[in-house]
């Protein structure tokens, strides 16, 4: 059992907590923007049409009192597009089944898709495919955002490909069509396994009356081209005709209830809550990340019963590895302890990842790393070789990975700790996290040294004032670009979470993961054994 040494009465704790609460307030304000949708005017207009808002549709679709994890809620943050990217995606429970729910927000530019929208939906489809989650699309979209069509049109085809690939993989797809779903959008119901349309509301056609008129001269109307009644009675594109929005949601819930869904991963063990209060997670991570902190303090507030069996505690102790459970699901944990990854830490990680694969145990990476150690001794000691072992193991590990950036995640350390490019099933960041190729100061300093060397080589005097300005500019730019909201806006994580929610988020993700079998890399007698490092 972990014993906390956190001084919750201390000044540091209070200061760190204060800073974290400040960041959480900022985060909440950004989330609120997404929730507000297209703003008062468009929300009012939408309601006046007797329609539910996208989050209202989702609330009604979900099982009562069940949790819902919204994914990429900050998509598009820092871009010209509305926070949230005019779509809501998340994992929720419908008729007792964990589903991927994707709903257009028609109050934001008519629910049209911009480049961030498509990226957010691609990510949701990936999660659904990897974790075997049935997909429910709540469709009401004006189609592509035409001014940015060049960035949407060609990659956007993946939306429809994903749907049928999900179907082919045995993952049911359901489309509840609340309004327009025209042109390319028509292929969302078109490619779905189950389609519900709402009378006098759903409009699904390749080309509307004006386009048809231009193309063939034919005079037509919305209803005959793509009305719900027509699709239910004539074209057969709709399997169910709903009377109104709640009825469509009712039918959708019924469809999920009839999927006879069985999770294929092992059942979780009985759950004991941690012995320490999750509230204290706010006061662990130092503001500015200059001071290392013990990740065991985090684990003590996240894992079942605060029980953590540490692996190789005396070896490579800048990386904590060990076994625990979260919400009953077994987990191998890799957590940076003092930021730096040395050769020992790298080898320990590689061995530990192999052990987890041998026992089909999912892995959790808690990031707070400034990267692999540099310097003559370390290079000569084979730090590249050892870092490569760790990256090799992470890359080829087949058990599900979840990454949480709780502090720094710099340089190749980000890779070794299963950064975004290493396809963890889920990746979340705490508001305290920062991620970049290196720290802003170091990066600016490196640029300064290189520039100084270049001007010296040219025999020119170095412009010290210019250098200071450059360093300040670079530093602040990199600082801004390494912050979680920026990275989340670019879909480099699945969301920024309140540290106090970490256990809940992990529990939900692990449960979602267990819709698929949990299977590590093969240790079946055809390959090697676990390499001792």
């Amino acid at each position: 059992m972990l014993r906390s040494r956190l001084d919750t009465a201390g000044e540091d704790y209070a200061a760190y907590r204060e800073a974290m609460l400040g960041k959480l307030a900022e985060l909440e304000a950004e989330h609120a923007k997404a929730v507000e949708g297209g703003g008062e005017k468009y929300v009012a207009r939408h309601r006046k049409r007797g329609k539910l808002l996208v989050r209202e549709r989702i609330e009604l679709l979900l099982d009562e009192d069940a949790p819902f994890l919204e994914l990429s809620p900050l998509a598009g943050w820092g871009s010209d597009f509305h926070v949230g990217a005019s779509v809501v995606a998340g994992i929720g429970v419908v008729s007792g089944v964990e589903c991927m729910i994707i709903g257009n927000d028609p109050t934001v530019r008519g629910g049209s898709s911009n480049p961030w929208t498509t990226r957010k939906i691609f990510r949701a489809a990936d999660i659904a495919l990897e974790n075997r989650l049935p997909v429910i699309n709540l469709v009401e979209s004006g189609g592509a955002d035409l001014p940015t069509q060049k960035e949407i049109f060609i990659p956007g085809g993946r939306l429809f490909r994903d749907l049928t690939r999900l179907s082919a993989a045995g993952i049911p797809t359901i489309a509840l069509v609340f309004g327009n779903s025209t042109a390319g959008g028509a292929y969302v119901p078109g490619m779905s396994d189950h389609v519900v349309m709402i009378q006098e509301r759903s409009k699904v056609f390749l080309g509307g009356p004006p386009l048809v008129k231009m193309a063939t001269g034919e005079e037509s109307d919305d209803e005959s081209l793509g009305g719900a009644e027509m699709h239910a009675r004539t074209s057969g594109l709709a399997d169910y005709l709903a009377r109104d929005e709640p009825d469509a949601i009712r039918i959708g819930r019924g469809i999920v209830g009839r999927l006879n869904w069985r999770k294929q991963g092992p059942e979780p063990a009985p759950v004991t809550p941690p012995r320490y209060d999750a509230e204290e997670l706010l006061g662990i991570v130092p503001e500015g990340l200059k001071v290392p902190f013990d990740p065991r303090e985090v684990l003590a507030r996240i894992v079942d019963g605060s029980e953590f069996d540490e692996f190789k505690p005396l070896y490579g102790d800048s990386l904590v590895t060990g076994w625990a459970r979260v919400h009953g699901y077994p987990l191998g944990v890799l957590a940076n302890a003092r930021g730096i990854l040395f050769s020992e830490e790298s080898q320990k990680a590689a061995q530990f990842i192999q052990l987890a694969n041998q026992t089909n145990t999912p892995l959790l990476f808690l990031h707070n790393t400034t990267g692999y150690m540099v310097g003559r001794d370390y290079e000569q000691g084979g730090i590249i070789k050892h870092g490569a072992m760790m990256i090799n193991a992470v890359s080829n590990s087949k058990v599900p990975h979840i990454s949480v950036l709780i502090g720094a995640s710099y340089g190749a350390g980000h890779y070794g700790m299963c950064g975004r490019a290493y396809d963890p099933r889920f990746l979340f960041a705490w508001p305290s996290a920062k991620s970049a190729v290196m720290g802003p100061q170091q990066l600016a300093g490196v640029l300064s040294i290189v520039a100084r060397a270049a001007s010296e080589a040219r025999g020119q005097a170095y412009d010290e004032d210019g250098d200071a300005a450059m360093r300040a500019a670079v530093e602040s730019q990199v600082e801004a670009e390494s912050l979680p909201m920026f990275l989340s806006g670019r879909l480099y994580d699945d969301g920024v979470i309140d540290p106090r929610d970490t256990r809940t988020v992990l529990g939900l993700c692990l449960s979602a993961i267990h819709n698929n079998p949990v299977q590590g890399a093969q240790f079946d007698g055809t390959g090697f054994g676990v390499f001792r490092m």
Binding site: H31, E64, L508
Partner: protein
């Protein structure tokens, strides 16, 4: 000696008699209709015999079948209970003719007292004060108001009050019809009706050796539709001299007909102490427990002992203390006492110290004589009385308070009952002052007396408790993610919503369970202490309140010291196919369609009767709600319909 006794009855009285038999070591035999196959009384006896069918006339009223059952089961005695064949001389005779012991008075005594006309004449002769009988043909304005009564009647059936002469003929006719169908005897008579009389009765016990006890009096003035609701002993009206006169009259009445066994002589009394003989009930009374609780006698045991020929001691036992009984009915006082049917999911009265039993020498307590248990179903065929609850204590005020408290805290889930009414009566200043008479409900207003114990705020809090308990139940029942916080969101957009209907009013609860506790719209002063599916503890304005929650299909029952509340959860979704067409007339209760007056397509005027539904021995008219056309008529005569079934659809003009 009786060794094996059949009770030709059902429900609580059967259980009551079994209890005495069991104490005496006598074997017990139950009879049951098909509807009662799983009823508590059928399960409690040593042996049970089926009476095929459901209606009383097919089952508990079949003398031949009952005698046959007694013989088949090896019973050597029959106890009739009350109601059904308890005052049927023919049945008593049949029992005796079969060589069995009849636990009751002689068939002759039953016969004599069964005729109200005859019995009044006899009583007058014996010197018992009586109200003069009036010939229906000769009633004059000066006699009004008059009461039309079935000679063979009881329990208020076949009884009519007539206040103007014009209505007399119709009242006599309908009383005759009701008497004929209920008792097989259409004879009715009239007498002066005392508007504000007090119903006082004397329990007598007479052995076969000439001894007659007047055991004690009971007052049963609080009645609805001539059916007793609250009964007590002793009567707050009766002082010692009046008691002497009452007892004397009662003994005279019993002696006049050589009565043997337990019986009750009923009187109508005025506040000045004058009283008149009403009738003698030649059986055990429903309200006999209040006498038992104030005397320590086991009246059923004495019935059996007297039937075995035992002598009464010289003197009846001393009376002491005060006992009050209420009859808990499945009925809705606020809806014209409409009887209710359906499952009783839960029936629990707290603090019960005796069931069906007497506790001699114990100064106070709470007795429950219940015919239902958790899961019992109240059908449409029999009297909807669920139970009798009796409190006894050294004083009347203490008994009333204890009884009201127990009733208020009882968990009664599944049916509308008269419980709130009973509690209001027991706590009413007029009741506590002993100002009880047969007009109690009219005087104090049924509407007021039927006011729910739970006020508006209690209902709102109960709805909140129901929502939180339902949320806890949803989490417990969740197949996945049940261990995660209830309604957890990383991005909060809306609260969870649940809606409940209480007495026709919709209550929506919007709440969120955050890490800092409960946020519920409109409940700013409420802190959630604990919520499980069965119990919710809330701190309301600094005061902690516990709400017990029972959950059944279509019902959430919340009990708290603030008053019981039944909530109907509003479904999240409605299937359009299950919705009823506008203008549909639904069966107000389960019953049988006995007459249809219109055909499909007929034009009808508002208020015009369309069909008649018989339920609980009463005919309910289903009338057109508005002018229009009968567009659908899915029922036919003789059809049994469930509560809520569509009986007809009337489409208004222009629709």
């Amino acid at each position: 000696m009786i060794s094996n006794l059949l009770v030709a009855n059902r429900g609580e009285i059967a259980l009551r008699i079994f209890r005495s038999c069991r104490d005496a070591g006598i074997g017990t035999v139950a009879v049951h209709s098909d509807a009662d196959a799983r009823a508590p009384h059928a399960l409690a006896a040593d042996a049970a015999i089926r009476l095929p069918g459901d209606s009383p006339s097919d089952t508990y009223l079949r003398a031949g079948l009952l005698v046959r059952a007694a013989l088949d089961a090896g019973a050597d005695a029959v106890h009739p209970g009350y109601g059904f064949l308890a005052e049927n001389a023919g049945f008593a005779r049949a029992v005796l003719d079969a060589g069995l012991t009849w636990v009751g008075p002689s068939p002759e005594a039953i016969e004599t007292m069964g005729s109200k006309v005859e019995s009044k004449r006899l009583m007058a002769e014996a010197g018992v004060p009586v109200l003069a009988e009036l010939d229906p043909e000769r009633v004059t304005e000066a006699d009004l108001p008059v009461l039309v009564k079935a000679s063979a009647g009881g329990g208020g059936r076949g009884m009519r009050i007539v206040r103007d002469l014009g209505g007399l003929a119709e009242a006599v006719e309908s009383a005759r019809a009701e008497a004929a169908s209920a008792f097989g005897d259409p004879t009715v008579f009239c007498e002066r009706y005392l508007e504000t009389g007090r119903h006082i009765e004397v329990q007598v016990l007479a052995d076969g050796h000439g001894a007659v006890w007047a055991v004690g009096e009971r007052e049963c003035s609080i009645q609805r539709r001539h059916q007793k609701v609250v009964e007590e002993a002793p009567s707050p009206l009766v002082d010692e001299p009046m008691r002497e006169r009452l007892f004397d009259a009662a003994r005279k009445a019993a002696k006049a007909i050589d009565y043997v066994g337990a019986g009750t002589v009923e009187f109508l009394a005025r506040d000045d102490g004058e009283f008149f003989f009403l009738e003698m009930n030649t059986r055990l009374q429903v309200e006999h427990p209040v006498t038992e609780c104030t005397t320590g006698l086991d009246l059923v045991d004495w019935q059996v002992r007297i039937a075995e020929g035992e002598r009464l001691p010289d003197e009846p036992p001393q009376r002491g203390g005060h006992a009050i009984e209420v009859r808990l009915y499945a009925e809705d006082p606020a809806q014209d006492w409409q009887p209710q049917s359906g499952p009783v999911h839960r029936f629990a009265v707290p603090g019960v110290t005796a069931e069906f039993a007497v506790r001699p020498g114990v100064a106070s307590g709470l007795r429950l004589d219940s015919g239902v248990a958790d899961g019992s179903v109240v059908g449409v065929h029999y009297d909807p009385m669920l139970a009798k609850v009796i409190a006894w204590a050294p004083t009347r005020a203490a008994a009333a308070r204890s009884l009201a408290g127990a009733l208020a805290r009882a968990h009664i889930h599944g049916l509308v009952t008269n419980r709130d009414l009973l509690v209001n009566v027991l706590r009413h200043p007029a009741f506590l002052a002993g100002e009880t008479d047969t007009a109690f409900f009219d005087r104090h207003g049924l509407g007021t007396l039927a006011t729910p114990l739970a006020d508006e705020r209690a209902v709102r809090l109960s709805a909140l408790a129901a929502a939180l308990a339902d949320a806890a139940e949803n989490r417990r029942a969740a197949r996945v993610l049940g261990g995660l916080p209830s309604g957890w969101r990383n991005v909060v957009s809306a609260p969870q919503r649940k809606a409940y209907v209480v007495a026709g009013e919709r209550h929506e609860i919007a709440y969120r369970l955050g890490r800092d506790g409960l946020h519920a719209e409109g409940f700013d002063d409420v802190v959630l202490v604990e919520a499980t599916p069965e119990r919710v503890v809330l701190e309301v304005g600094g005061v902690r309140r516990t709400f017990d929650v029972g959950r059944y299909p279509g019902l959430v029952a919340v009990d708290s010291p603030l008053g019981p509340v039944s909530l109907e959860p509003e479904p999240r979704f409605t299937d359009p196919e299950s919705e009823v067409a506008a203008g549909s007339l639904l069966a107000p209760m389960p019953g049988t369609v006995v007459r249809v007056a219109v055909e499909q397509g007929a034009a009808v005027r508002a208020g015009e009767p369309l069909l008649w539904l018989e339920a609980m021995k009463m005919e309910h008219r289903i009338v057109a709600p508005a002018d229009g056309v009968v567009t659908d008529l899915p029922v036919t005569v003789g059809q049994q319909v469930e509560h809520g079934a569509v009986l007809a659809v009337v489409q208004g003009e222009g629709e």
